[in-house]
């Protein structure tokens, strides 16, 4: 069973399609990184799943049931754009309202539990408007975590956070999937961060899903390369071309693609009379893969 299954989902605003026959499959227990440029339809898709927008056509299923099923929807937690809290009410009061809304028993205990998960036990009495951006995002996550959600939908939760804030957010997301068994759909521009936690990826462009792949598939498609720096760069490049298949000059470096044996490269250069001043082992990650994919589609 999949947590989210979308078929041919469309949504237009004044004749312009924000989501255009989108297909999407999010397996249960996944952290699904939803990637795309600004205006590619990520937020619109998330709002459609949450029932905030009405689709022009298509089908959304959550855990095998229609997304309008009250039983499923009560187990969906969302952080779309902002936390959706009342600014003049305290963090505790905002969480209490959501706990009441969900009809939870042991509300105080539940609120303490989610505050602990988001590392905000000591900030419960602060007014929401007095919280920093990072705190507000974490409160949003806490709101979404109330009521033991089976699915978390998070729209750009790490945007605007500092390094520490990102780390905390990352830890929280890993914790909720591993310990609580929650499926997470997370959209973000910060691909480096997403790469650290996502188990699956969906890449969307102009409202259409252009690729869905698991982190393992992503890993297998990732290219490794070694970059070297010598005094005589032209000579070194020529020497490397004689032995290795894919050699390119990239700025101050000579890059040897699809090879990670640095020792063999250095040995070969020394044999040919080149003194190596710098060697780096690199990997093309999600960001580079995404850029490459986007540029390919641009060409098409």
């Amino acid at each position: 069973m999949n947590a989210i299954e979308i078929r041919n989902l469309s949504k237009s605003f004044r004749g312009m399609y924000a989501v255009d026959k989108l297909n999407m499959t999010v397996p249960v227990g996944a952290i699904y990184g939803f990637i795309g440029e600004n205006g590619s339809g990520k937020s619109t898709t998330e709002k459609l799943i949450c029932g905030h927008l009405v689709a022009d056509g298509g089908e959304i299923k959550l855990f095998g049931k229609s997304f309008t099923d009250a039983g499923v929807r009560v187990r969906v937690g969302a952080l779309i754009e902002n936390a959706g809290c009342f600014p003049n009410s305290s963090v505790w009061a905002n969480l209490m309202m959501q706990a009441i809304n969900l009809g939870l028993e042991n509300r105080d205990e539940e609120i303490r539990r989610v505050l602990k998960i988001v590392r905000m036990e000591d900030s419960a009495r602060i007014k929401f408007k007095s919280c920093s951006l990072g705190m507000k995002q974490r409160i949003g996550i806490a709101m979404a975590l109330l009521g033991n959600p089976a699915l978390l939908i998070l729209d750009e939760p790490i945007n605007g956070l500092d390094t520490d804030g990102m780390r905390i957010m990352r830890e929280i997301l890993v914790e909720v999937t591993q310990n609580l068994g929650c499926t997470v759909l997370i959209s973000s521009h910060i691909l480096g961060e997403l790469e650290k936690i996502a188990t699956h990826y969906g890449i969307i462009r102009q409202g259409r899903m252009i690729q869905e792949l698991s982190a393992r598939e992503m890993e297998s498609r990732s290219r490794v390369f070694v970059s070297v720096k010598t005094k005589d760069m032209t000579g070194a490049e020529q020497a490397l071309r004689n032995k290795f298949y894919n050699v390119k000059r990239e700025g101050e470096y000579v890059c040897i693609y699809d090879v990670d044996d640095t020792e063999a490269i250095v040995e070969h250069l020394i044999k040919n009379g080149h003194i190596v001043s710098e060697v780096r082992k690199n990997k093309i990650g999600l960001e580079e893969y995404y850029i490459e994919l986007m540029s390919k589609k641009e060409e098409l």
């Binding site: 039983g71 959501q98 809304n101 009809g103």
Partner: protein, 274 residues
């Protein structure tokens, strides 16, 4: 603690869903100053009206109110009014109630909390029903503080308290019942103009004053046919009211509430939430 691994999706009953949403609305109502401010306003209005009339010369005072209960309801069901004395009564609660409901629902949208509500509540009628019931409760409370303020100001200005107790009870009961119908109208307006907070408030104010019905009455005269409107039935609950007036208020309120909740639910289901 149960984890999501269980993936057990039990559909909550209508009662459970409504209990949740009403619970949030009432929590907000009692934990924010808005409700108390409007209760205060409802208590002060009769004082302002009666004090204002008492400050004029003696003749004018007599022409506005000669009985304290006229601050609560008019003697007769007058849809066309000649002076402020015939107009200014408990019906004014419905004007301020409209503003309060607009602010309350407006905050739902402005803060973004509406997203939380609609994420977890897929049934849109939950929202319409909850806001209507909350608005009705608020206006009913405002009617009571208005009554309290009216009695106090009547006593201070030395007005007579002679009245047919049965008719007075019918009038007050009728107006309290009408709170439900008015609340559904205001909720409906706020659903239509949810992104345009100013328009919602202005429209609620205009409809709450009863101007369209007063205008219609000026054209077609003081006819009981105007009781089909919320303002008409609210006026009908006057100091000459009887059980029939209460029944008319009950029917009017129930029918309009059903119409507005159904229409509001359809609009919410067919259009984007925000």
């Amino acid at each position: 603690m149960q984890t999501a691994h269980g993936l057990n999706f039990e559909s909550p009953s209508l009662i459970k869903r409504l209990k949740g949403m009403l619970g949030v609305d009432f929590y907000r109502l009692f934990h924010t100053p808005l409700f108390y401010i409007f209760l205060g306003i409802a208590a002060i209005i009769p004082a302002l009206v009666s004090m204002g009339s008492a400050m004029g010369d003696a003749e004018e005072t007599t022409s506005l109110f000669n009985n304290a209960w006229q601050i609560i309801a008019a003697n007769e069901p007058l849809y066309v009014v000649n002076d402020i004395g015939e107009y200014a009564n408990m019906n004014m609660v419905f004007i301020f109630g409209g503003i309060m409901i607009s602010i309350f629902i407006g905050h739902d949208y402005k803060s973004g909390y509406v997203k939380q509500l609609f994420t977890t509540h897929s049934k849109k009628q939950d929202y319409m029903t909850s806001k209507t019931l909350l608005g009705a409760f608020s206006m009913a409370c405002m009617c009571l503080t208005y009554l309290f303020g009216g009695v106090l100001s009547g006593a201070f200005t030395g007005l007579s308290f002679n009245v047919n107790a049965g008719s007075l009870i019918c009038a007050i009961l009728g107006k309290i019942i009408m709170s439900l119908g008015w609340a559904s109208l205001y909720t409906f307006i706020n659903i239509i103009f949810r992104a345009k907070f100013g328009i919602s408030i202005a429209l609620c104010f205009i409809l709450g004053t009863g101007i369209p019905v007063i205008g219609a009455a000026a054209l077609i005269g003081n006819t009981p046919a105007l009781n089909v409107f919320l303002y008409g039935s609210s006026v009908y609950a006057c100091l000459s009211a009887n059980a029939l007036a209460v029944f008319i208020c009950l029917m009017n309120s129930a029918v309009w509430t059903t119409v507005y909740i159904v229409c509001g639910t359809i609009i919410l289901s067919k259009r984007d939430v925000y």
